[in-house]
Amino acid sequence: MKAIYYKFVCFSGIFLIVCFLAAGCQQKTRRHSFEKIGDFSIRILPNNCKELRDGLGRVLLLVPRGQAIPKGYASAKVVRIPVRRVVAYSGYMVSLLRAIHAIDSLVGVTHVQDYWLIPEVREGLEKGRISYVGESAIVDFEKLKAVRPELVFTWDASLVPKLEELHIPVVITITGEAMNLDTRLNFVRFVAQFFGKEKLADEYVKRVRSTIARIKKIVLKKHGTRPKVIWGDIYEKRVLVEPGNSWAAQMVKLAGGKYLFDDIRGSS
């Protein structure tokens, strides 16, 4: 029985050592040909091609313009990069395009001019360079087709079949589970793959991270009670709140607040 005990201890020890070694290896080689950003993923393929998975797990194949489509991707949706004409559904997506200096590629939005505070969008809508294609729930597909987008960023899954029928590639920008802060920050790097702006996205993420760290430091110096906070939206007599695993809840905690729904996991 003693022999079995020793064997067991040895096995367990070896297993734990392998775990720690693997953890160490991971720290050293952060940049792989594969990267996961929440439920999104990026896989670098030969000849500057990329395989991306969007919020629904759909595969998108990014192929540089003029280059042949790699074998084995017959059923994948192909997007020619860098994308030059894009339609974005949310203000958040448009802000990300601005952050990576890709706002020039924006040709369609689902909000009227008054909604926008971003000067480039307001100006674009005024001059007709950017088109309003209808509210998100009632998009005018003829208008959408007329702006000849090479890509549509949307949270609306029901749009996918219609856009695929029109041969317009579509990226679903939300996931079943709420985005945590790390995913929310790095999502810009996922978006940057479509425009060849990876370096700018990296710099942007660095900048935001350092800003968050700075604010956290300032907040830590302030002593006092932690205010109780909830983060939500009100839709017709209904309040939808962000769960504890969301980036919003994490930001509240970093800012010194106490998030009331910290113990709840779920979608945004």
Partner: protein, 265 residues
């Protein structure tokens, strides 16, 4: 030499060591899984080989326990197979010591359950190695779309979403609590209509269709177009699970018969 290896593989001591290792491994797994679920949910869509190439090798600190788990399961399976086979062989050898055939037959019940467990585990392995998954097939009314990598086309005939209209649960008011959709399938000039709902998938031409998402989710306000999102799976492991589970039930019934009826007598 061969006999020696066979006996060591079937020993009870090995079973104990493997089971204790399994507990240690799963404890590590529990810690690694916490907060990193998205690494492992991808396994369902990608399959074991592709997942190992991507998530598995990119996040070794979180995934190494799973590879350890698989190795331990292989040893446990071998151990169970050898141990069970040894006992089955000796039962057959000493069959003449049993007073009746039924008593002899019922003695196999435990061994049948062990073999069934091995078949179920093999089913899981086949599933993770060879299943093809389309993680998202979105259907809207009035449009037919091809099911990837097949000659099947699918269209949404109707979606019937039930919204909560009672007063007892105010937070559920006007929210969807059940859905039933009719899907029209076209293949080889033939059409078929199948119903799909929450936890009620359907099978068609070897593929299984599972409801992943649907819309609209609210009866009033926040309205979206009606749609359903399906996961389509071609899983050759399913037949093995069913075979294993059926065999397990047979073994269990035999065991209960032996335990209840024969012991009373």
């Amino acid at each position: 030499m061969k006999r020696d290896i066979w006996h060591k593989l079937g020993s009870t001591k090995l079973s104990i060591v493997v089971l204790v290792l399994l507990v240690v491994n799963l404890t590590v797994g529990y810690v690694m899984l916490n907060g990193n679920e998205s690494i492992f949910t991808a396994l369902n869509n990608l399959g074991l080989i592709e997942w190992t190439r991507t998530y598995g090798l990119t996040f070794p600190a979180y995934t190494v326990w799973l590879f350890g788990f698989m190795i331990i399961l292989v040893i446990l399976t071998l151990n169970t197979f050898v141990c069970t086979t040894n006992r089955v062989v000796s039962l057959i050898r000493y069959r003449h010591t049993f007073t009746s055939r039924i008593r002899l037959l019922l003695r196999f019940s435990v061994h049948i359950m062990h073999y069934a467990l091995i078949i179920i585990l093999a089913g899981y392995l086949v599933s993770y190695l060879f299943a093809c998954t389309c993680p998202s097939l979105i259907l809207i009314p009035g449009q037919v779309v091809p099911v990837p990598d097949t000659d099947i086309k699918a269209g949404l005939e109707s979606v019937n979403v039930k919204f909560y209209e009672g007063n007892r649960l105010a937070f559920l008011k006007d929210r969807a609590y059940d859905v039933c959709a009719c899907v029209k399938l076209f293949s080889d000039g033939k059409t078929a209509i199948k119903k799909v709902g929450l936890n009620t998938p359907f099978r068609y031409r070897g593929l299984s269709f599972h409801l992943k998402d649907f819309g609209p989710k609210y009866g009033k306000g926040l309205k979206t177009r009606p749609f359903i999102n399906l996961i389509v799976k071609n899983d050759p492991g399913v037949k093995l699970y069913f075979a294993g589970t059926s065999l397990f039930v047979v073994g269990l019934v035999m065991y209960l018969y032996q335990w209840v009826l024969l012991k009373i007598r």
